[in-house]
């Protein structure tokens, strides 16, 4: 039976870090997926057959960048089986690739972009507001912990289990983890907001209880954002309002003093 050595797999893993180098609106990560798998395909096929198999992989492909290694691992395994003549016809590998890409993308988007990123940012901002210069490094280290595990362990799992890796993903209930991560992120961001407001009021020597009134404009802004108003517009409305109130306040203070 033909096997792909660990060196080649490691090479493929590194190439997956460049998956989106040629991202485009027509085939999205397609060329990148072909580029990543190519060292493995070279070990399995030669000449015309290699070109024929390569053509199959430059087509449309899109999944989450941290879960792509799992798809790549599984596809490699299936190609390996097929090259050894013990597997299903070509169509099944394509079907598998198409079948898993979209659900994996949805899981990854919710878990990483929607959950882990705000969570890590919230934790880091606590430190950054305190003026700790190491905060960015802590962000990079804490955030990358989970994606690195996904990129490595899931690649190994994908290669080891082939199509069965889907069951492994299902068993780990990642969509539930995505929801839990998002909920934790909201709790952290709530604590962060309270911390920022409380510290600011202390610096301005204003009574602390005033900070509880921050909740109302924040919830209102959140509801407006949900209606589709752009962040840019919200920023400029907020900044302009504060700027004008600041000017008005300064004038009032000046008038009272004089």
């Amino acid at each position: 039976m033909m096997t792909i050595s660990w060196r080649t797999r490691l090479y493929i893993w590194f190439r997956l870090l460049l998956l989106q180098a040629s991202w485009n609106f027509e085939r999205l990560q397609g060329i990148g997926f072909f580029y990543s798998l190519l060292p493995g395909l070279r070990k399995l096929y030669r000449d015309e057959k290699l070109i024929e198999v390569s053509r199959k992989y430059v087509g449309y492909f899109n999944t989450h960048v941290y879960l792509a290694p799992m798809v790549a691992g599984a596809v490699l395994k299936l190609e390996e089986d097929q090259a050894s003549g013990i597997a299903d016809p070509v169509l099944k590998i394509d079907d598998f690739k198409e079948m898993v890409a979209a659900p994996y993308a949805a899981i990854g988007d919710a878990l990483f972009w929607g959950g882990l990123r705000p969570l890590a940012a919230g934790i880091t901002l606590f430190l950054a507001i305190k003026g700790i210069l190491w905060a960015p490094l802590i962000f990079v280290l804490t955030y990358n912990l989970v994606p690195t595990v996904f990129r490595t362990v899931f690649f190994v799992r994908g290669y080891r289990q082939g199509m069965e890796s889907v069951e492994w993903i299902q068993k780990h209930r990642l969509p539930d983890w995505a929801i839990h991560t998002k909920e934790t992120a909201i709790v952290i961001l709530g604590g962060l907001s309270a911390f920022m407001v409380f510290s600011h009021l202390n610096q301005q020597q204003l009574p602390g209880w005033l900070g509880l009134f921050t909740l109302l404009p924040m919830v209102l802004l959140g509801l407006v954002a949900r209606k589709g108003l752009s962040t840019l517009l919200l920023v400029f409305i907020t900044v302009a309002s504060i700027f004008l109130i600041g000017l008005f306040w300064a004038d009032m203070v000046f008038l009272i003093a004089s």
Binding site: L17, W113, G114, L125, G190, T231
Partner: protein, 229 residues
Amino acid sequence: MTVSLAFGALISLICGLDRVAILQIMISRPIVAAPLTALALGEPLVGLQIGVMVELLWLARLPVGAAVPPDDTQVAIASSVLAIVLGETLNASGMELLLLCLLIAIPLGKVGQYFDHIARQYNVRLIKQVDSALDRGSLLGAEFQHLRGLTSFSLASVGTYAIIVLGGLSIVPFLWPLLQQSLSHSSAWIQLALPLVGIAVILGTINVSRAITLFCASFGMSFLLMWLV
């Protein structure tokens, strides 16, 4: 000044590539990119302050599928460079100048979204060249076309950075004498408001049932604890 701008351009290139094309280890996040830039220019605290204000603003805009979020990486890097370079040129410091640079950089950052779109559109041309390389039987040629995609993303990043920096360098010195005094009345409140707007947008757009309840409970509990202790 030229050296500072060049350092900024180099960091904008590296962080810009991390954003989409390679790695995705999040050195492109404003909380990392801005302090990194400011550290290279010798004033890391300026970058940290900018990073805190920009990090949460567009965090709710997810890079899902073909969606292109605004380029907060270049906004953070360019405003750090502007704040430091103009601080020396105008002999000014403090939150007011930093805020002015950031508020000029934020709308100019919209260009980044446009450039990123063009880069991805330009990369469509690579498909044809990959296909013809495979027709010729040249796998090396096909691999090379993939790596060529990095050029468009690099140009988009550095182009966005250049537009924000050039825009800032021409607008801020003109506005600074007019707004310096007025901004001093509200700068501390604006500094607080920017991350709070970002959190509010996340709260409004995050796909979690009872998000507002969770947020209010967490805010209230934390606030009361800090107030009472």
